[in-house]
C-alpha cells in the first residue's frame, strides 16, 4: 500500500466519526425537520454511486479498446463500489421519501434510473462471479450498455412523471446547510477513493499470485 493510504484512511475515519456532530449542528429545514438530515448522507452516497458507474463504464471501454487488464480491475472494483454506495442511496432515499412524499417508493426518473443502474451493477458482478473464463470482456460490454442505458431510462421516466428534487437546489443552500453537505461529500469521496484503491490492489495481488503460480508450474 502506498504511504498516503494509511494517513488518508485515518482522516476518513475521523471525518465520518465527526460527521454526525456536523450534521446535528446544521439548521433544521422548516417543513421536514429532523428527517431532512438524511439528505446529508443520501446525496453524497448517490453522487459516489453515479461516479462509480461512470468509472466502471469508462474503464470498461478502455479495456475493450486496449485489452489492458488494469482497466478491467478498475472496472470490477468500481462495479462493487456502485453496489455498495447504491445500497446506501437506495436505503436512505425511501426513509426520506416516506416523510417528504408520504410513500417509500415512487417510480420517478431518478429513482427508476438509480434502481436500474444498481441492478446493472449487480448483473455485472453476477456475470464476473459465475460467467467463467472470458467473462471479463462480456462484463465490459455489459458495463458499456449499462452506461448508455441510464440516459434513456432518465428521459423515458422523466417524460412519464417526476417529483424528485432537482440538483439545482444545491448551490442555493445557506452556509449552515451547505457546509455539512460539502463536508459529507468530501468524506464520501475520500471513502470511495480509499475503497476503490484497496479493491484494485486486491485484484492486482491476485493477478500477481496467479502469474507466480503459472511460472512455478512451467518450471516443474
Amino acid at each position: 500500500m502506498p504511504k498516503w493510504f494509511l494517513r488518508a484512511a485515518v482522516v476518513c475515519a475521523v471525518m465520518f466519526v465527526l460527521s454526525p456532530f456536523v450534521i446535528a449542528n446544521a439548521d433544521y429545514e422548516s417543513t421536514m425537520g429532523l428527517v431532512q438530515k438524511i439528505f446529508y448522507y443520501h446525496m453524497p452516497s448517490a453522487w459516489m454511486f453515479l461516479v462509480a458507474g461512470i468509472v466502471c463504464g469508462v474503464a470498461s471501454v478502455r479495456f475493450l479498446i486496449s485489452g489492458d487488464p488494469r482497466h478491467d480491475r478498475t472496472a470490477w472494483a468500481a462495479a462493487e463500489m456502485a453496489v455498495i454506495f447504491g445500497v446506501v442511496t437506495l436505503v436512505t432515499g425511501p426513509l426520506w421519501a416516506r416523510r417528504a412524499w408520504g410513500t417509500y417508493w415512487v417510480w420517478d426518473a431518478r429513482t427508476t434510473s438509480s434502481l436500474v443502474q444498481w441492478m446493472v451493477a449487480w448483473a455485472y458482478l453476477i456475470l464476473r462471479r459465475y460467467g467463467g473464463p472470458g467473462s471479463d470482456k462480456l462484463a465490459a460490454g455489459l458495463a458499456l450498455f449499462g452506461v448508455a442505458n441510464v440516459g434513456f431510462i432518465y428521459i423515458s421516466v422523466n417524460y412519464w412523471r417526476t417529483i424528485h428534487p432537482a440538483t439545482t437546489v444545491v448551490p442555493k443552500l445557506p452556509f449552515t446547510m451547505g457546509f455539512p453537505l460539502w463536508y459529507c461529500v468530501a468524506s464520501f469521496t475520500l471513502l470511495f477513493v480509499l475503497l476503490l484503491k484497496m479493491r484494485i490492489r486486491l485484484e492486482e495481488q491476485r493477478a500477481t499470485l496467479d502469474s507466480l503460480y503459472l511460472s512455478l508450474d512451467e518450471q516443474h
Binding site: 459465475y130 462480456l138 423515458s156 421516466v157
Partner: protein, 224 residues
C-alpha cells in the same frame, strides 16, 4: 456486408423452416404466458384496465429471451458458430444476420400474440394498425439488438441460461417502458398522437444507439 447478413438470415430461416424448433417453442411459450395472465387477471369476464399493453410486452420479452438463448445454443452444439466466425466475413455481418433472424421470429410471434391479447383482454389493439406495427417493430429491434449481442457473448460462458435474462432485462428497461407506454397510448379512447410519437421516437433513438454499440462491441467480444 448486407449480402452476407442476408445469407446468414436465409441460413437461419431455412434451418428454422425445416425444424421449426425455436418458432414452435417460442410461440407456444408466449401463448402460455398470455393464458397465465388471463387466468390471473381476468375476473368474472372483466379484464383489468390498461393491462393489455403490459401483458403484450411481457410476453414478447419472455418469449424473446427463450428464442435468443436457443438461437445460439443450436450454433454452439453443432460447433457451427466457430465456423461462422472463422469464415472470411466481417463480424458485424454475422451479428446483423443473427439479429434479423431473431426479429423475423419475434415478428411472427407478435402476429399471433396481438389478436390473442385483443381477444382475451378485450383491448382495441387493432384500432391503429400502422402505429401498433411501428411501435412493435421499433421495440422488437431494440430488444433483439441487445439480446443478440448478449446471447452471442454468453455462448461460451458458464451458466449462460440464467445469465441471459439477468443481463438482458435491466438493459432493456427503456424498451419495455417505451413499448408499454406507447402501446397503452394507442388503446386510449382518444388517439393521443403526440404521446405515441414521443415513445416511437425514443424507441428509434434507442435502436440507433444500441445497434451501433452492438456492431462495435461484437467485434471485440467475439475475438479470442
Amino acid at each position: 456486408m448486407i449480402r452476407l447478413a442476408w445469407l446468414i438470415l436465409r441460413k437461419d430461416l431455412t434451418v428454422e423452416v425445416r425444424s421449426g424448433e425455436i418458432a414452435y417453442t417460442t410461440l407456444f411459450f408466449a401463448v402460455t404466458c398470455v393464458l397465465v395472465f388471463a387466468f390471473a387477471l381476468v375476473r368474472e369476464g372483466r379484464p383489468p384496465e390498461d393491462g393489455a399493453a403490459g401483458i403484450l410486452w411481457i410476453a414478447i420479452a419472455f418469449a424473446g429471451n427463450l428464442a435468443l438463448g436457443r438461437a445460439f445454443e443450436r450454433e454452439r452444439q453443432a460447433e457451427t458458430l466457430r465456423a461462422l466466425l472463422l469464415a472470411p466475413t466481417p463480424r458485424p455481418a454475422v451479428y446483423l444476420g443473427k439479429l434479423l433472424g431473431i426479429v423475423v421470429l419475434l415478428a411472427g410471434t407478435e402476429a399471433i400474440l396481438v389478436p390473442l391479447i385483443a381477444l382475451l383482454f378485450q383491448a382495441q389493439l387493432l384500432a391503429h394498425p400502422f402505429w401498433l406495427s411501428a411501435i412493435l417493430a421499433a421495440g422488437t429491434i431494440g430488444f433483439a439488438a441487445v439480446g443478440t449481442l448478449f446471447a452471442a457473448m454468453l455462448v461460451r460462458a458458464r451458466s449462460r441460461d440464467v445469465l441471459l435474462p439477468v443481463l438482458l432485462y435491466p438493459i432493456t428497461v427503456p424498451v419495455i417502458i417505451a413499448g408499454v407506454r406507447g402501446t397503452a397510448a394507442l388503446l386510449q379512447p382518444q388517439f393521443e398522437g403526440d404521446i405515441v410519437r414521443f415513445w416511437f421516437a425514443l424507441l428509434i433513438a434507442f435502436d440507433a444507439v444500441f445497434v451501433t454499440l452492438s456492431l462495435w462491441t461484437f467485434e471485440s467480444v467475439m475475438t479470442d
